[in-house]
């Protein structure tokens, strides 16, 4: 307990310290200091994470409490952190990949002026900090704190080059889409508090609490949680922000897509698996949305020409896989894919960054080609990444993807078929990207060609390390069928329970595996052969255009949601507010003035009339006196009604 308190403190506070240090001192430190401190803090956090991990391995899960966040008569939300198998694993990935990305960034962002450099690193540190809070939190509220925190950081980082309007737009879009998801998450939390009076994992995620919830409750809560996950992990329909998030510096993309942010949704669902397992409905929804997202994004990725866009859609697609895994109950498979994906996607993004760096911020792959010789390290590492993501054994992607596909098959063969299709497309577009970028002839300007150079060590070192990890990470989850031990799923038993028996024979599994791998390989080879010589020009077929334009989803959203809402808001502002509500208020004033203008004419200056009115008044008084009973009755009726 004691040591863990210190460790968790270290893990969390180092990035925070980095944020404050760089954020507040942005005008004072040199770039060198900034870089060292920022990277160093994350690295220190990584070291602490390793110790924490070992501690958990040796002594089991620990909850650490610092103070009460909210402590009232009705609800208690402590600022608790839980270090267990799941979170410690995520800690390693986040801080590990994170520190590599920091290291990479020190070189990548060299051209920035010192204050902005500091700003960049402070955001980055804050990002890590938020993500750590997210995974460490021992209740949903603390998780939500991190959850929103990463949303904020993504906003800040995507809009890092704030003078560019489009980038800001992308940043805003990311934040708002996330917020929509967050709303779902929040509602789920409210629901939990209202029903259970607590949001602590150890009180919510227990069998007793399940008895207090009706099936509607569970479905509702899990669906809302899933909405949260949708936003953060870019699932249909909230995925459009992620490709746009490419507006940020490339290392940021790597951070968002690999180590942090998008994995939050998977983490959360895995964390709450007890609830999710109890709702058939939610699971189906998750699986369907997951696989649809996987396919949708893959089709779009095939037609993109921006190196980062391809990778971005690939991320969306891979996330879809993970959700498929979650939907079919393969929680450890999903986590496994998160980890392997973290490695190879970080690798790919950083590799892409290296390419872009070399190409002087040229991102269109049609203007690249033949970079193999110019950027050897980048090339090799990138290739490893591509192979890993394509699911070619024995690289890491193969194992994780296969685990999900096997579980999907067990649930429904259709999932599997679609999953394999997606895997094939993944292999295709990744190698389309690889081929167009690294093979063939250089297609850029001569000026760019002259300046092509391999990136400095600070950038290549992370590439190399990540490439090694991408290649070997599969080792933590080699299935027993292959003679492995599947350390990961064993490790996660306390959180997700024993893996479900799939009920598939070994031979069937082998067959499935073989089929998927061979289809992926076919697609891979097809891509290489197709793009060895030529590049994609503007698509001509209808379908091609449709994919190229990302299924027109942005336009669709714009037409169906954004514009009508905008018009609605305009209607409220200009018609309802100005004319009806304010009009009623001003109208009352005008009415008084109008009646003043009219009534005063009675006072016409003629004594004769005045006396006439007086006589009439007297007669009126008499009338009232005669009819007092009926008037009284009338009033009584009025007041009664």
């Amino acid at each position: 307990m004691g040591i863990m308190k210190i460790l968790v403190g270290f893990i969390i506070l180092w990035p925070l310290a980095g944020f404050l240090f760089n954020g507040l001192g942005r005008n004072y430190w040199s770039k060198k200091v900034i870089a060292y401190k920022a990277t160093g803090y994350i690295f220190a956090s990584f070291i602490a994470s390793i110790f924490a991990f070992i501690q958990v391995q040796n002594h089991g899960a620990v909850t650490v409490r610092y103070f009460d966040f909210i402590n009232t008569d009705t609800v208690k939300i402590p600022f608790d952190f839980k270090v267990d198998a799941l979170s410690s694993l995520f800690l390693l990935v986040i801080t590990g990949v994170g520190s590599l990305i920091h290291l990479y960034s020190t070189a990548y962002m060299k051209e920035e002026a010192a204050p902005h450099y500091a700003r960049y690193f402070s955001y980055l540190n804050l990002f890590i900090f938020s993500m750590l809070i997210l995974v460490l939190g021992d209740n949903y509220v603390v998780m939500f704190i991190g959850w929103e925190g990463v949303g904020l950081c993504s906003y800040l980082l995507i809009g890092y080059w704030f003078t560019n309007g489009n980038y800001n737009y992308a940043a805003k879009k990311a934040f708002i889409m996330n917020r929509i998801g967050d709303l779902g998450f929040l509602l789920a939390i409210f629901w939990l508090i209202v029903k259970l009076g607590s949001v602590n994992y150890n009180e919510v995620l227990t069998a007793t609490s399940l008895t207090k919830l009706s099936s509607t409750d569970i479905s509702g809560i899990t669906l809302l949680l899933f909405v949260g996950a949708m936003g953060k992990s870019a699932q249909i329909p909230l995925f459009t922000w992620l490709p746009d998030a490419m507006a940020g510096p490339t290392p940021v993309s790597a951070l968002i897509h690999a180590a942090t942010m998008v994995t939050a949704g998977i983490y959360m669902i895995t964390r709450s698996n007890i609830l999710f397992s109890h709702s058939e409905l939610t699971q189906n929804v998750i699986a369907i949305i997951g696989i649809s997202t996987a396919l949708l994004a893959a089709t779009i990725a095939i037609k993109q020409n921006d190196i980062k866009k391809v990778l971005a859609y690939s991320t969306v697609s891979q996330l879809g896989y993970m959700f498929l895994g979650l939907g079919v109950g393969a929680y450890s498979g999903a986590v496994f894919h998160v980890i392997t994906h973290a490695f190879f996607k970080a690798l790919l993004f950083l590799g892409a960054g290296s390419v872009i760096h070399a190409m002087h911020h040229e991102q269109d792959i049609r203007k690249m080609g033949g970079l193999k010789s110019k950027l050897p390290i980048t090339h090799i590492t990138f290739l490893i990444g591509c192979i890993a993501i394509a699911g070619v054994p024995p690289f890491s992607g193969f194992f994780s993807k296969d685990e999900i596909l096997a579980a999907a098959f067990a649930k429904s063969p259709i999932y599997w078929v679609l999953g394999v299709l997606g895997a094939a497309m993944t292999a295709f577009y990744m190698f389309r990207l690889y081929t167009t970028t690294f093979l063939g002839k250089f297609r850029g300007s001569s000026d760019q060609e002259n300046h092509l150079h391999e990136s400095p060590l600070a950038m290549t070192l992370p590439l190399i390390l990540l490439a090694i990890a991408s290649a070997l990470a599969g080792a933590i989850g080699i299935p027993e069928m292959m003679g492995g031990h599947h350390w990961l799923s064993h490790n996660l038993i306390p959180i997700v329970g024993k893996p479900i028996e799939l009920g598939l024979s070994h031979s069937l599994e082998w067959t499935l595996m073989a089929v998927s791998v061979s289809i992926a390989l076919l697609a891979l080879l097809l891509a290489i052969s197709m793009y060895k010589k030529k590049t994609d020009e503007e698509p001509t077929t209808t379908l091609g255009k449709f994919f190229y334009h990302k299924w027109h989803i942005d336009e669709l959203y714009n037409e169906v949601i954004v514009e009508p809402l905008n018009r609605f808001a305009g209607f409220l502002k200009n018609v309802i507010e100005k004319q009806i509500i304010d009009g009623a208020v001003n109208g009352t004033g005008k009415l008084v003035q109008y009646s003043a203008r009219k009534v005063r004419l009675v006072q016409n200056g003629q004594v004769g009339y005045y006396i006439l009115f007086m006589v009439a008044g007297i007669i009126l008084l008499f009338m009232i006196w005669f009819n007092d009973i009926s008037i009284l009755l009338f009033f009584n009726k009025l007041t009664k009604n």
């Binding site: 004769g608 006439l612 006589v615 009439a616 007297i618 007669i619 008499f622």
Partner: protein, 166 residues
């Protein structure tokens, strides 16, 4: 029907006719004269009611002083017969309707007033209208208002002077 009652009716009709004449005569001087006749009729009523003091005062004050004052003023400012433009007909009509409805209203009220049923006014009888009891009452019970009414005259005097001064 005895003579007193005949006198009552005659005076009443006379007074009302004269009053109407006050309204309809074009010449203001004629109006004044008609009004004086009304006052005389009313004084006649006072005498019928044996309120001799008031009858005399009425003639002296109203017919004698006040109406003469009116005549004076009319002559002073020399209002010609036709100098008063007539009000529009409908204004007159409304005036008559208003007055008429006031009359019918109050008469109908009086008709329904139960306590008045059977009450009569003794004519030619009673001593309270004579100077002696009135004087006694005035200087015993009513001395305070009597004195206070002097204030009224004072203020009227001051006022008349204030306004009348050039």
């Amino acid at each position: 029907m005895n003579i007193v009652e005949i006198l009552f009716y005659a005076l009443s009709v006379f007074a009302i006719v004269c009053a109407i004449m006050v309204l309809i005569s074009k010449n203001p001087i004629h109006s004044v004269l008609w009004l004086i006749l009304v006052f005389f009729a009313i004084s006649g009523h006072y005498i019928l009611l044996n309120a001799q003091f008031l009858a005399i005062v009425n003639i002296i004050v109203y017919a004698g002083a006040i109406m003469v004052l009116f005549l004076f003023v009319i002559m002073l400012i020399n209002v010609k017969k036709d100098s008063e433009p007539q009000k529009q007909l409908f204004v007159k009509l409304i005036g008559v309707i208003a007055g008429g409805s006031f009359l019918t209203l109050s008469i109908s009220l009086v008709k329904q007033a139960m306590p008045l049923v059977g009450k009569t006014v003794p004519l030619k009888e009673g001593t309270i209208g004579l100077i002696h009891p009135l004087g006694k009452a005035l200087f015993n019970d009513y001395v305070v208002p009597f004195e206070i009414s002097s204030v009224l005259f004072l203020s009227a005097m001051v006022g008349a002077v204030l306004i009348g001064k050039k």
